[in-house]
């Protein structure tokens, strides 16, 4: 199994590792300890004390906060229980007119706002764009990924987490209260 220094992996993630080394990592068999080093690198990049359990994408991680598991931005902003779609606690800006869409897709590149909208989700804490979602008008906000965190730690890593939580989608509990 190949072994990579944490520094090399950090550079790889930042896109600053020399191409020859990047190419080597791409082509070689995968390193079994990648996840643990990944979590260490992510943990070093944030200032909050909570332990990162699982990344959810750029800037977002599921962290253990007391007995809760919550989604947290690198800036410290929290987005609620990981089993509820974090987007519900973000800021949203919807490109639903030709004028707004042409700011990104000028002229012939512009989709049709009568059927398509581009939803941008921002972190209310730092303004980073966390997700762009292109969907037909009226389509529910997509819950991109609901990781089975306990299953992963228990079955794949062989290190069950002390606190277990039911693996289920709880998004509708939120929207039900909004009507």
């Amino acid at each position: 199994m190949p072994f990579y220094e944490k520094k090399d992996l950090r550079d790889l993630f930042n896109g600053t590792l020399p191409w020859e080394k990047t190419r080597e990592i791409m082509s070689c068999p995968k390193d079994d300890d990648r996840f643990d080093k990944y979590i260490q690198i992510l943990q070093e990049q944030v200032t909050y004390p909570e332990k990162i359990l699982m990344p959810l994408g750029d800037h977002l991680n599921v962290v253990q906060k007391g007995s809760q598991r919550v989604v947290k931005c690198d800036c410290g902003r929290e987005f609620g229980d990981w089993r509820q779609n974090w987007k519900l606690n973000a800021l949203i800006y919807v490109r639903d007119t030709r004028e707004k869409l042409e700011e990104i897709y000028p002229g012939f590149r512009c989709p049709d706002p009568s059927v398509c909208e581009v939803r941008e989700f921002y972190c209310p804490g730092c303004g980073v764009m966390l997700k762009v979602e292109n969907v037909p008008v009226g389509y529910p906000i997509i819950f991109d990924v609901l990781p089975d965190i306990d299953g992963f730690y228990r079955e794949w890593l062989g290190r069950p987490l002390p606190e277990q939580a039911e693996f289920t989608d709880m998004t509708h509990d939120v929207t039900r209260g909004w009507a």
Partner: protein, 735 residues
Amino acid sequence: MARKRKGIGEGGRSLRQMLEENERIYRETGCYAGITEPTVLADDPVKAELFHSRIMAALISGRETCRLVSASPYVREVAELCIGVFTPEGDNIAQSTGIQIHVRLMADNIQWMIRKKYEEEVGIEDGDFFIANDPVISGMHAADVYDILPVFWERELIGWVSTVIMEMDVGAVSPGCMPTPNVERGTDGLKFCCEKIGSKDRLRRDFEHKIEISLDMCDIFLLDRKGAIAANVRIREELKNIIREFGLDYYKRATRELIEEERRNQIARIRQRMIPGRYRSVVPVEFPMSKQPVSWIPGRVDTIRLIPIQMDVGTDGYMALDFEGAGEWGWHPFNGTPQALWGGVSIVMVQTFSYDGRANLGSLLPVDIKTPTPDSVLNPIQIKKLATSTPWAPMLDLFGMWTHLLGMAFYLRGFREETFNYRSASGWQMAGYDQMGTKRPLFAAGTGNFGPGACGVCDGVDCGGWLATPEVDLGSAEVWELFVPQLEMARRFEPYGAGHGRFRSGVGIPTSIMIHRTQQCVASGALGSASDRIIPNLGQFGAYCGGKRNTFLVRFQDLPQWLEKRQPLLYELGFMGDLKERVEKMGGEIVDVGLIPEPTEVFEGNMLIANSGAAGGLGDPLERDPRRIQEDLNQGFSTDWIARNIYCVKASYDDQAKEWRVDDAESGEMRQRKRAERLAKGVPVKDWWQKARQRVLEHEIDPQLTEMYQSSARLSPAFLKEYREFWALPEEFVF
């Protein structure tokens, strides 16, 4: 008393008995062929490696043999062919290089013959040739023709070899070999349902007559068959050599262990690289048929269909794909089939996981597809009556999206370098008179003209794409110009189609051809069918997906004069916002003919441009290193407009140094202002949700979308239930 007929399989069993027995054992043990303890390969790894290498060498040399015999530029220039070797039950043992979609599709053809009792009712003999190209049985589109050869050892069928070639002409209605203006089966052209076309290693003369009478490009088609047969026979003989060297018992056991070993390896890869859980997205697909000249009048209707996609990764290392909520089938040639879905699974699993040359059926066994709802666009019950010239088209975007979901799982696990996505391309196909005055389909290959999605550690590959085949090079443009009355025009990268992000997608390069030396020619769209009024949901995290794809027809009024003056044509499309006006100033007319343009007559000097869009970038564009933007500007991969408006980078051109430079301080301030702007204009999702819900409740949605939602709801109560739950709609709500 009549003696019971002896089967051609192992121990006198019929192939059907062997197939059913193999399936039963797999169900009971979970291991391929019931191999719970693979030992033969493990006992002597060197021998095992040699054995596998010999099979692969046979396949690859067979593929090259085919290229030497064939005359089609698809085979000779692009190498759009692939060869596989199979167990007697029709399970793939190994696959040559080439388009990997056919690992399962070839097998499905063989297993269809076995289940249809070919052994008893048609006859399967040593030296027989079979041919298939019917997507109702198996395949992505009718243009893919499979040549299948049984392999015997001392009167026992011990395997199969199958070659697939994409044909330029299968006798379909104009234009092209995968036409879009067709809705009924008869318009697809010739369909072969695993038919026997030769015996004793000779192609039947009556088959050749049929091809000569039916196809305009009969010579190409027949030479492709001969190329495929040469390859198949060569591989068959090499397999016999392998058996002589290793022994029949070893061959039988080792080939099955190769499948079981790959199944285990695949599960290990999934467990090593992914995170278990649920991953979701949606692929809306447009079928603009209202202007297509179809004879079945009810087919002249524009529809949009939803295909939600859910990937469940279990802790057991198995994956399941679910398309619950897919809308209804329609009268168009783009309906998918459950078999075509397996084609998509083959290509994605091989090219994202099993790229070590060991791909076979075992690569696919850890994946399950929940059978799409009958009557959905992925499982039309009327499939026999429908045209199936292009089920491939929506599959490209659907499996581009699956790749996106896989990429998300890799990213979460820390293997960011494996993150990637892709989308389908736009293109042209034609029919008419070639330079020699012969009327026939005219469908040229192209370069990889769109940009694949960003990787998690670098930008996407420029003009590097598409996933379906690693060969995105059309070969020699001059050879294609001999086959199609066109001139390949100079072209430049088109940055406005890129998916912008911290890492951007690859940048596409529009295909641009000029019609040249044809008496009469008709052109229409090809391939790309999925949404573009609705761009795909391929932005990775905080990045954008590339924009709408275009298919342009450009006519110049004074082309000879323009050429005489050696003025540049449209080698660079430039800013998309004023392209139409700029072309008009050149005395030209640019017609955006939509994604699937209806057949249009084209003339000498007309230009056809396929301006594909790229897949998704990755991460917030404001986090892109300004140095990368500077490099992009200097290489023609970006523009000042993009740098300023998307990336918030101040760039200026240094006339003396002849290069772009970015102003870091000014750029930093621009980015800070942009973040503040986002915080000011963004609204809490709850507030937006309440307004959006009201629109849904009051049916203030485009009628075509309403029909799309109704279509999904008609087939899927689960879709409707979940839709109601998200928007907290009353039980009685209907679209």
